[in-house]
Symmetry: C2
Subunit: 679 residues, 2 copies
């Protein structure tokens, strides 16, 4: 996306190893069991350069794939995601307030593209007249936004190093609360990608109806492109991402102002489309009103991003973040209210065919088919795609924090070639593509699942903040606790409203998934803790454990078997050869050969009348282990290594399967003795 490629230190500059202290190993060179010259000579090998005593630095060429196919994949990877970045080149780009608003708020700001529409599409079920309620409901949501933003101002103050809901809830309310917030957020991040991409494609389709049949395909390509940008690492994000956000904000505000001016001068009138006004199919119940409110609350997803990203701000971080959050809430509020105000004033009816978004209808009405209309639609699409991109920052980061705390598999914490959390990016891509395919890239079908997770995490985070203030020694702690307490209560009520009204439509999936996630997190944590304890607590190791008996399975006395046997003889005093007999002729041949060459090694024949190879051998090993538990057994497996991968299918995979099976018998060490075919 930009030209400032990471600079890889030139070979031999030694820059990459500056974090090692060579002094520590100075002594070793003299006392090691290995002659010092060997080490020195290795560092003179063309694959390495010395990095001080005991330290080797591989040259780039030495670690590159050697096979043609390996080189091809490497080159393809380089083209797609760029040259790898060394660990010590990690740069934490600090964001100005202007850039931060663009980068961290795209999720929240973009919600105005579908927020008003979501309310209207619910209200219209009670007839066109009910649409007039759009404005009061929007007002309620804006009020909610002010409360939540004020609450988060306090979180930023208390957690200047980044206060995600998982961290705040876990620290103040305990592990289960933290994991609940974490699980809810992970689910909502996936939904954010799916909803934002689907809505972005809707904006595109409104402007170019010819693209309608390809919505799913466009959505998939968009997700893949965003994933690719993120795998490349998004250090250039601030600059590049600012443009669409500000274009969107200014053009939407422009439309609103122009709309209000024309409304006041009487020049704005809406004529319902050919479908005519729809008659209501539902009575205007409280449930319907709450549903419309719940749908509109989706506009508030993404509010948390700024409090997550405090350390990315330029100093004073905390203050800048709070100012940015206020601006974000202000812009979101006026855009949301402005659109809702205009559509209610002109009695706009959402396109029943769902071919055109409400924002597109409104823009058409105000700006006609001008270039400005296309600018609004295009920047809407871009900011929605950027909203998906916000999840691409948050989802892998949250998973890496969970991995660090041992609640998620370790590899979610590993950084890829470009220092991005590649596994998390891949997981988010797979899950959001799955959602898009299942729900056919339809915003309306995805929305019921959305927002409940965000509001659950809002509630837990605010409740955690209340505890935080109560325990703190700050002078204003009571006032702060009250502010967060109001936030917690309000968001809790909204969470219940969302859960209640959307339950049957899909929120039940989230309600089921969250506890499932929590159980999985806890199981994973338990496993890692058990491992760590076992690795720590065990009694001291014996100074030297050498195997006492070597066991070599032989099929026939060919060259591989002979080399394996002589290798065994070199390591252990006692060697046993085992032949699992499935073919009498092979036994006779083997015994005849044996007499000639290997008369110092005991050959044991295990008869296998049913022609199975593994179980009799395993049974023998288990029997020996049981009868002579003090013996260290070393099983030496002669193994063929063909030159080409396809040749593997021409050999029975016995050695491989045996290796797998033996791994599970405690006290048995397995050695693969490879034999390399030369042609």
């Amino acid at each position: 996306m930009s030209d400032d490629k990471p600079t890889i230190p030139p070979e031999g500059s030694g820059k990459g190893i500056k974090h090692f202290d060579p002094e520590l190993f100075q002594r070793k060179e003299l006392s090691g069991t290995l002659p010092g010259d060997r080490l020195v000579r290795i560092s003179r090998h063309r694959s390495f350069k010395g990095g001080g005593p005991g330290i080797l630095v591989p040259r780039q060429k030495a670690v590159e794939p050697k096979s043609n196919i390996g080189r091809f994949f490497r080159r393809a990877k380089r083209v797609l995601i760029g040259e790898p970045i060394p660990t010590d080149q990690e740069i934490h780009e600090r964001l100005t307030k202007v850039k931060a608003l663009a980068v961290l708020s795209s999720d929240a700001l973009s919600s105005v593209a579908y927020g008003t529409e979501a309310i209207m599409r619910t209200l219209i079920l009670a007839g066109v007249a009910a649409l007039s309620l759009t404005l009061p409901i929007s007002l309620g949501i804006t009020l909610l936004l002010v409360i939540v933003a004020t609450s988060y101002q306090q979180t930023i103050r208390a957690y200047p190093s980044g206060g995600g809901s998982y961290i705040v809830a876990r620290e103040n309310l305990g592990t289960i609360a933290g994991l609940t917030a974490g699980a809810a957020l992970l689910i909502d991040y996936v939904l954010t990608v799916a909803v934002s991409i689907a809505a972005g494609v809707d904006a595109l389709k409104s402007a170019f109806p010819g693209l309608r049949p390809f919505d799913l395909e466009i959505s998939i390509v968009a997700v893949l492109l965003i994933a690719l940008f993120n795998l490349r690492g998004i250090r250039e994000s601030g600059t590049v991402f600012s443009a669409p956000t500000y274009i969107f904000v200014f053009s939407v505000i422009g439309i609103i102002i122009a709309g209000i001016v024309r409304l006041l001068t009487g020049g704005l009138a809406y004529t319902p489309g050919p479908a005519g006004p729809l008659a209501g199919t539902h009575p205007l119940t409280l449930f319907l009103l709450l549903s419309a409110f719940a749908k509109g609350c989706t506009a508030m997803t993404g509010t948390e991003a700024i409090s997550n990203g405090v350390p990315a701000f330029k100093p004073p971080e905390s203050k800048n973040a709070r100012i940015t959050l206020a601006w974000m809430a202000f812009l979101l509020g006026i855009m949301f209210m402005g659109i809702s105000f205009l559509v209610t004033q002109i009695h706009l009816v959402p396109d029943p065919s769902e071919h055109e978004t409400v924002l597109s209808q409104l823009t058409h009405l105000i700006a006609g088919n001008s270039w400005f209309y296309y600018l609004v639609q295009f920047s809407t699409m871009l900011i929605l795609f950027l909203a998906a991109n916000t999840s691409y920052a948050d989802f892998p980061r949250l998973l890496s924090i969970l991995a660090r705390d041992r609640f998620a598999p370790r590899w979610f914490g590993l950084r890829g070639d470009r220092l991005a959390f590649s596994v998390g990016i891949a997981a988010l891509t797979a899950l959001s593509l799955l959602l898009l395919v299942i729900f056919g890239s339809s915003v309306d079908r995805l929305l019921p699942l959305y927002a409940i997770g965000v509001f659950t995490s809002f509630t837990l985070s605010q409740a955690g903040m209340v505890i935080h203030w109560m325990k703190s020694g700050e002078p204003n702690r009571l006032r702060s606790a009250v502010v967060n307490g109001i936030g917690a209560v309000v968001t809790a009520v909204v969470t219940i409203v969302i859960g209640y009204t959307k339950f049957a439509e899909g929120a039940w999936m989230v309600v089921i998934l969250v506890p499932v996630f929590i159980i999985v997190f806890l199981l994973i944590n338990r496993h890692y803790m058990v491992v760590a304890r076992q690795l720590r607590d065990k009694p001291q190791v014996k100074p030297s454990e050498s195997p006492t008996v070597a066991i070599v399975p032989v099929f026939s006395l060919n060259l591989v078997a002979r080399q394996a046997l002589s290798f065994a003889r070199g390591i252990c005093k006692r060697v046993i050869a085992i032949h699992v007999a499935t073919d009498p002729a092979a036994v006779d041949r083997l015994r005849a050969d044996w007499e000639e060459v290997e008369d110092d090694i005991q050959l044991i024949i295990i008869n296998s009348p049913y022609r199975i190879l593994l179980p009799p051998f395993i049974a023998y090993i288990e029997a020996i282990k049981e009868m002579e538990p003090q013996d260290n057994l070393l099983v030496i497996l002669p193994e063929f290594v063909p030159k080409h991968w396809w040749e593997h299918i021409l050999h029975n995979q016995t050695a491989r399967r045996l290796k797998e099976a033996l791994l599970y018998i405690p006290g048995v060490v397995v050695t693969s003795f490879p034999y390399h075919l030369e042609e």
Copy 2:
């Protein structure tokens, strides 16, 4: 299918090991490096019983799976395919002529169910009048049958141990000719299954039109059932399979006789169906006539089965086989001619909707809707399924012969639990199901691919016989050579006719596939030969090769790493520990720990600024191997073994991937040092 289950020898009877000669190992007990009492004690372990000195016989319980899931699969397997049969229980059931005719001829005899129809459906393209040519074409095919049968009489005489086309062609014409015959036959065996099953389901659909929509499903179930019977081993085949074959033969002959009687008494008249006589769409060209002839030749597939199966006959095998072949040809000839005669006499027109077979139409006309009609249809279906079963005997056997001669992967020669060639059966099932699905279980669409393979192998086999006689010293060799020569020329002409007329319709696939198969056979053979030569030709092995340097990759100095290091110390005098450094903090921790505990082992840090683990380690091993080629390297990989399979995904698969990669570096032996988690 029958009650005569194989009798498994009772435990401890020692019957299963009678083919071993314990005497050979008497001496060993005194001279072995292992104390004799250990061996004796092992044979007293509950898992084993002694089978003589140096021989162990595992008890059934010891080789059974121990995990619940393993036991479940084992039990399911037992229910499906029965208890395993010991190798020495293999019984070659000898067949009487009556049984042999049923078992070995079902493929050939069943062809009358679709042979005449195939001719008619081609001729009708030139209009209903052209159908009168059905009889002369059938006569030509019957003549061809007589020639081929006579030729094969001679093959049986010359190859009393079974003269399949592959064997005859390979022995007399060379490897390529043999492989051509083998490839052509393999393809046709797959087609036999697909065509016979599809035709059998057609017979069923003719009788029960309600089953029409489910033809593909019924076909798939039929193939799977036949595969299952064959995996069980089909020793009971003779008795069980005789019934449908003879019911089919007698009922078809009965229909023919009844038809001729009613024709002579004037009581048989056919009124064309509501569709009315079709007008011709093609002119009656020579090409069309040849096409009809080629389609009819499919009736001759399966003629080879008897000459393949000579050793299965009761003595005198050769004579009995020849008599059976003559009977087979006679029955096939009169049934085929009888049906063709009747349909031409009454001017029967094949059902244009293809809902009813010609044989069903004829039987309806003669027997009405009586029980006899259903008997004919049902026995037609059964004999067609039996025809598929013939391929299930031939295909795996031919592949096992090819595997024995090292032209096919070795595992095609392995016998399963019930002594059947399981892999071949599985391959045939997969391929024929694929064909049925691709061609929608339609006989008419499958037929163009069929028969060209059979006639190719006929030609090669007969040509081979000509050479065989010329080289032999028999008195009548010239006459025999002339008989086979006529067979070779005639079948060669027919092969060309079939290839020419069916080429565009699908035979081209076979024409492409046969050379592809031959190339694959030759590549496989080359590989096995190279392996065998390398295992034989190598210079003598050194008496004892012990590793000189042990290399242990360590991530941190936890218990597993310490045990692995002490194991390494026990085996090798020189031990090097390698740490691939991706995280500076981990390096500092490791070094601090190292100072305390492992100060006799050299620790080498390889810096990996791009966070990759494997390539730097591999590069180090390769560099050492290059600089010190005389060293035997032993890489010891500390490896975690979780207690549950799902725990694997929680650990980086580094050890596993490293093991794979190291396997490909010559001169490096890899030892997995497992650490078993206890919880």
